[in-house]
Symmetry: C2
Subunit: 384 residues, 2 copies
């Protein structure tokens, strides 16, 4: 075992367990199904004020408050809370760790079970089945039902969370009053699959990956996972954001020495890589990136995305960020066009920002105002 | 030694040897200096028809004809040859392997020498000194002098080759009648440094890199170098080119099976990685990417790029490609503005292309016509 890299700490997450399990798109059944989740705010008596937030690739259910592993603030701390755009004084916010994740939901690092659901005393590892965005959404639906909620006031998510939001609206239209897919796409592009494959290749190349059985060998593919995070992180930022934040500055030196020069941007990326490995599981990364690659909502509907929303009762808020090149505005426009063809109630906004894809996580007042306004309007219309 | 990955084959390159060596920007002296090169066409009696082509990061001196290692056509076969834009019926074309490269010029895989220039029976490896784009250009200048050429009719290069072309014009203005920096920039951006660092991290993470001494251990950091190539290759293409070429097609299957699905774009990238390691040295990759990162031409001139070209006699042809996001048009415009401020004779063209950075290597008729026209005009003006 690499002493410098501790295994992910065991944390007692809030979990819902479904012994009968979940039939997956692959044909496999995962039993029991475990969904780890957090809630914020209070469910009203009519059970009409529930907002489901779907997290991105490396996010988790801890969107506000202190993160139990990193000790840092939640990833949407600036959006979810009392008086914030997703106002926990008014709404009951649910966030579930995605299927295949590593924060307590059924995933590669959880204990594998046999066909009767008996624990086998080892994690799934690479024996965890392939999952899809639709599988993730099905698991969330079970959780929402368990909480006694028939219709969600809203499903909201950015990036992969936006894929889930779209899938929710397509699969369970009657259960989604309002839907906000943010900085996302209705399918994963060739370029994005390519970037994912680089990350996977880096993990596979790490001898500490051990063909996925690092858990058995007491090892961690830390360097491979770190490289995967580094390349992904570049895609989350815009060129102008990198230039503004780092430019060609050197770390700890004024001029090039031709010895151990490190540019500030390199130091930043290395830091991103080395902190990531303390909170994320490599096999989860492989599983979830694959689920994103598989995502192609139109393919479920004979290639016509508008059919996914035909006759939908849901109202939509589509948002993109001008400098996002991972999920560029053109992808959000394509979603909006499909919604318009389906005659769905739709608003679309492109936020001017130089912060790239990460803008959906950052301080973007225009975005926050627009999302908050959409949600308040939906709540008023729904009587929530 | 990894049997599946042969070491780079030994090839007898044409070389110029300079026993007195080269004083580098780092302060180190490299002796002897060896510059491996190829020439195409015939030098005229006045020695006035010489065109120096500078190659990109992973290019080499074999720009036309059969490559001695890969057996494939040269990398600029469609531009350099009889009747082509760089017409070898009229011009004497020189292309040198860059300093730090791995096709015969002084570099990490060549034999290390002591201070008297005596061979030490081992390659430089990571003991090869840091080099800069200016060092590469100085080495080329020595070669050009050795060939008896005082003034080059033109210096032409794309990507890192364009950096060298700019450096040539700035350092040796009297020796450059015409200069064509293509798909390049006057400094390496934070985003580009970041992508390079991902590649380097992947190489460093490969246990077969052996701290750079893989040559001693009979090993090759094939997986790390392959990952480096994969991520770099994504940056050479545009999103639309990847979508057009591959889209979401699966390799060898019509529908997702959730078993061993491979998207066509992944298969392509893996192939790029696995062929690259048969022709490129990992320590060369580290050395040359660092040289690109260091490149900041304005920094030599108190931060004012126009001073690099003050009073220049050289005529310039600046070209960019609309979908190139590695060296976007904005970078070429910045070069052009500096040339304009220096009152240099300058033409700038942005070629509409969806092929990304790689467009400078591909079949782009408008680019070929413009470059050919520029070169013929320069030759006519120079009486060559």
């Amino acid at each position: 075992m690499n002493e410098a890299v501790p295994f992910l700490p065991e944390v007692a997450h809030q979990r819902a367990v479904f012994p009968d399990g979940l039939l997956l798109d692959s044909g496999a059944t995962l039993a029991p199904l475990v969904v780890a989740y957090e809630t914020y705010g209070t469910l009203d008596a009519a059970r009409g004020n529930a907002v489901l937030v779907c997290h991105a690739l490396t996010g988790d259910q801890y969107l506000a408050g202190r993160h139990p592993v990193t000790g840092r603030p939640g990833w949407w701390e600036n959006i979810v809370g009392p008086g914030l755009p997703i106002d926990t004084d008014r709404f009951f916010v649910i966030c579930a760790n995605v299927l295949g994740g590593c924060m307590g939901s059924s995933g590669p690092r959880e204990e594998m079970t046999d066909e009767e659901g008996n624990g086998l005393g080892r994690p799934y590892g690479t024996d965890f089945p392939s999952v899809t965005i639709r599988d993730m959404v099905r698991a969330q639906k079970r959780l929402v039902e368990r909480l006694g909620i028939t219709r969600l006031l809203a499903v909201i998510g950015g990036s992969m969370g936006g894929m889930q939001a779209l899938q929710w609206a397509a699969t369970y239209p009657e259960a989604v009053f309002a839907c906000a897919p943010i900085a996302t796409a209705a399918h994963h592009s060739a370029q994005n699959i390519a970037f994912h494959e680089v990350g996977r290749a880096a993990i596979h190349a790490d001898p500490d990956w051990c063909g996925g059985a690092y858990w058995r060998e007491g090892r961690l593919p830390a360097q491979g996972l770190s490289v995967a995070r580094m390349v992904a992180h570049i895609t989350y930022l815009s060129e102008s954001a990198l230039t503004r934040k780092f430019g060609r500055r050197l770390q700890g030196a004024k001029a090039v020495t031709f010895l151990e020069d490190v540019f500030a941007v390199e130091s930043y990326l290395r830091h991103q890589g080395s902190t990531f490995i303390r909170r994320f599981d490599a096999n989860s990364y492989l599983t979830i990136t694959r689920a994103m690659d598989y995502f192609d909502l139109a393919a479920e509907f004979e290639g016509d995305l508008s059919r996914a929303f035909q006759g939908t009762p849901t109202r939509f808020f589509v948002a993109s960020f001008s400098s996002d090149w991972l999920f560029p505005t053109a992808e959000s426009r394509a979603i909006t066009r499909a919604l318009n063809r389906a005659a769905a109630r739709t608003s679309f906004i492109e936020i001017a920002s130089d912060k790239g894809h990460d803008a959906f996580l950052l301080d973007e007042p225009e975005f926050h105002a627009a999302l908050g306004g959409f949600l308040r309007g939906a709540a008023d219309a729904a009587g929530a």
